[in-house]
Symmetry: C2
Subunit: 337 residues, 2 copies
């Protein structure tokens, strides 16, 4: 593991994106989102995901030059076409649009079809919360999770993001509908560890904590068994019906061809509801209550969603972004000039 300063990572990635057809300003914006994701500790969806993102540019799944466009709408609800553009830039534009709509209508909602993987979903929750909005967004994905009662991956892990603004640090939930991602299963297996709780079924259909057995069966568990399975179905259905886009079952199951996703971005503007300070006090009161709760492990404490982000961010800004040497070499190898 090496540490590289934020600016060097960001400029290296931006340079590669320009080479791959991005206009300079968009290359910088896109590269910044990748670097910020690693900076915030979501290592699976930052720098580590960049080589796969370049592969999707090269195979035509993602159109570097495409920008989202408004197709239809009424009041605070709009439908946009992502035109197969870069998923993170499309998502950022649509959350910005939802906030714009919320300034006029109190609540804004943008349904985005024909887009691509948004990388770290929490990015758009932070975006809303840092601008003072409550944000809710979700995406569908390729089929990567068996539905409850089934054995093959027919539903998506469809991450759901909910974000609350707060002066002392936003509260941001970023939650996929699988209990463990394939990336997490791989990490546990490589460390020779069992999962802390059941994570899926083995080949014989028994619940197991063995990460390797789940990688072999392709049967990870939905969050809460039947409950997360149902939530995944409804999130897919809502996003697809509003965007008039593709459902999970219509999306390629090959990660480098996972394209044409459907997403929803909502922003709520508190201004018309009452004094914002009162909302702040409410959020702080909930956080204090959680911190006072009796912990299961002495010396630990209950945390709110996203609590560790600002700590990790500060550390990575000070020390540089942690990058595996092999990943960094792969990225440098993407440069053609």
């Amino acid at each position: 593991m090496m540490r590289i300063c934020f600016d060097r990572v960001y400029q290296t990635l931006a340079g590669i994106l320009v080479q791959e057809g991005f206009e300079t300003g968009r290359a910088e914006a896109c590269a910044r989102l990748f670097a910020e994701t690693t900076r915030d500790g979501v290592y699976t969806h930052g720098i580590n995901r960049f080589p796969r993102f370049v592969a999707t540019l090269r195979n035509g799944s993602v159109d570097a030059a495409a920008e989202p466009r408004r197709v239809a709408g009424m009041g605070g609800l709009e439908r946009w076409d992502g035109c197969k553009g870069p998923g993170n830039l499309n998502a950022q534009a649509c959350m910005a649009r939802a906030m714009h709509l919320a300034r006029t209508h109190g609540v804004g909602c943008v349904a985005l079809g024909n887009t691509n993987h948004w990388m770290r979903g929490g990015t758009y929750g932070w975006q809303a919360a840092e601008a003072g909005f409550l944000g809710i967004c979700w995406t569908n994905t390729m089929p990567n999770l068996p539905a409850w009662g089934g054995v093959e991956p027919v539903i998506g892990n469809n991450p759901l993001v909910m974000a609350v603004p707060r002066a002392a640090g936003p509260v941001v939930l970023d939650m996929a509908m699988s209990q463990f991602s394939y990336g997490a299963l791989e990490s546990y297996r490589k460390r020779g560890e069992m999962l802390p709780v059941d994570g899926g079924f083995d080949a014989a259909g028994r619940l197991t904590r063995d990460p390797g057995a789940i990688e072999e069966s392709w049967r990870p568990l939905p969050v809460g068994y039947w409950k997360g399975s149902g939530l995944s179905v409804v999130l897919d259905m809502m996003a697809t019906m509003l965007a008039l886009g593709r459902a999970t079952h219509q999306i390629s199951g090959d990660p480098v061809f996972e394209s044409g996703l459907s997403q929803v971005f909502m922003a709520l503007h508190r201004e018309g509801l009452g004094p914002e300070e009162e909302g702040e006090r409410i959020a702080d009161g909930i956080v204090e209550w959680l911190h006072r709760a009796k912990p299961a492990e002495p010396g630990s404490r209950v945390r709110y969603p996203g609590e560790r982000t600002l700590v990790i961010r500060a550390e990575n800004e000070k020390l540089g972004l942690p990058v595996e040497e092999a990943v960094w070499e792969t990225i440098l190898g993407l440069r053609t000039a």
Copy 2:
């Protein structure tokens, strides 16, 4: 178990509500919601819950005559005060208001504070979907679930409802954030059965399928462990900040004094987005895909959320509502005249 026809149940409950101070039309509307909940197979929150509801009327937690009123708002986003009125009538009124706002603004959102237990959350999802809207709503509750990393009940099970209209039958998810309710644990224990999956911790802090051990430890599991715990926190925070109402930690932990809840009701109106038939085809396509999935148990099939409701409803309409004799006697005993 006896069967009583819908109208007799409904009229009996309505009569008791008039006796408890409801105006006749509101007594009928409230009684109808209880009877419909049992009719749709959600037995925990229908007739079985009625005696506790009457207790909350008698102890002053619920004000029979109170109606919700609009406090503030901008565009499609409004804040209402439930004035401690009956939770199911308040919730029905606020989902109706969210739909009204959505007709003008595309999306409508009503935050409701100072209300009471809404009984079956799915009711308001069905309400939205049957009127052609996509509906999302949630409520906070009293502290009844330990947060992940803690041992005492400090968060609510905060049910989340998401509903999609569909000609062949709406898709309605109604999901509390606990893996098993205390009612479900009691049912398993009385039948002498173990839970199908881990449902909580025993007194020694070990995960267990033994329902009695979880009832004793008061440590049921959140859905998806840390994930459902985080979702519960964010749902509470959003509802409370929008409603400027009470958070879970400010609500009495005694079920008959659980009052002053905060809720959110959202409706999305598809009319401005494109042809509704296309949305129908999308929903039907997802349902067909799930039904074609290879089942874990031969002869079974993967179901969508709410799939069994219309079947159960038809059966209970034909045969009468199933009611335990002891519960019915308790209800008849509530009549004072």
